[in-house]
């Protein structure tokens, strides 16, 4: 992940077009799939393709204006841009909930990941447990749990997005996790 912020810093200092394009391709090679996952988890159907294109364009155009110095800040900045584009889409389609991923699709991804990084029985057990937590929560919690635990948004980012206080978000996520744990245990 260190490579990412190095690339972003270099991009900010680079004057030549060819070099900027080369760096942008490397940066987007690292962030593109996560932004894709974020967008496609929030919007379904053909609209998701359009929103994803809009997000790529917006991040690329603003890359030189990014002011932070850490990977965490960079991701928060990228997700803020993606969130803004998603909000534009929600205004059009009046829906702002995450699109639940079918448990079998999650399993398929886990099996694919096991081919590259084999799972010990303990890891497999942990992953099954995590998947149960993430797929059995009620819609409001599903959204919070995915944003925090899968996309890595911290309490402050989520609080800003939802116009809530940091502590409300922290407590809500804790409560959601407790609730779903009681359901799956």
């Amino acid at each position: 992940m260190d490579d990412l912020i190095k690339l972003v810093r270099t991009y900010r200092l680079t004057a030549g077009l060819a070099e900027r394009i080369r760096l942008a391709e490397q940066i987007f090679g690292l962030i593109g799939p996560d932004l894709h996952l974020f967008v496609f988890s929030h919007v379904s159907g053909p609209a998701a393709y359009d929103v994803f294109q809009e997000v790529l364009k917006a991040v690329a155009v603003s890359l030189k204006q990014f002011k932070g110095d850490t990977v965490k800040e960079f991701w928060a900045w990228c997700y803020r841009i993606a969130r803004n584009k998603l909000n534009d889409q929600y205004r059009r389609q009046a829906n702002d909930r995450l699109v639940p991923v079918a448990p079998e699709d999650l399993w398929q991804m886990m099996e694919a990941s096991a081919q590259d990084a084999p799972m010990t029985p303990a890891v497999r057990h942990d992953l099954e447990y995590a998947m149960k937590l993430l797929t059995n929560s009620k819609p409001e919690c599903y959204d919070l749990l995915w944003n925090h635990f899968v996309f890595g948004l911290d309490y402050a980012d989520i609080a800003t997005d939802r116009n809530m206080s940091y502590d409300s978000v922290r407590m809500k996520i804790g409560r959601c996790l407790e609730e779903v744990k009681s359901l799956v245990s």
């Binding site: 077009l17 900027r20 394009i21 942008a24 391709e25 987007f28 090679g29 593109g32 799939p33 996560d34 894709h36 996952l37 994803f52 294109q53 790529l56 364009k57 690329a60 155009v61 890359l63 030189k64 999650l106 991804m109 886990m110 694919a112 990941s113 590259d116 990084a117 890891v123 942990d126 992953l127 447990y129 995590a130 998947m131 937590l133 993430l134 749990l145 635990f149 899968v150 996309f151 890595g152 407590m171 996520i173 804790g174 409560r175 996790l177 407790e178 744990k181």
Partner: protein
């Protein structure tokens, strides 16, 4: 309210890492996406170059206007 246990965090983190890695493998950026990025970078670069070539000319402030020397009469 109970704090989130380190075990829960670890399990969810492991899931997140594996899921995102597997997702990235099955959803690499397409040529079309790369073109979108290249076009955006190129467009932004051209806007910068245009701005450098034609720096905005500020209209003279009223104070400066007063200080300005009257123009020489045209003797032609």
């Amino acid at each position: 309210m109970a704090e989130i246990s380190p075990e829960d965090r670890l399990a969810l983190h492991e899931f997140s890492v594996r899921y995102r890695e597997a997702y990235a493998k099955s959803n690499p950026l397409s040529e079309l996406h790369l073109e979108t990025i290249q076009d955006a970078v190129r467009g932004e670069y051209e806007r910068e170059q245009d701005a450098k070539r034609s720096p905005s000319v500020e209209p003279p402030s009223p104070a400066k206007e007063k200080e300005r020397e009257p123009e020489e009469p045209d003797h032609s």
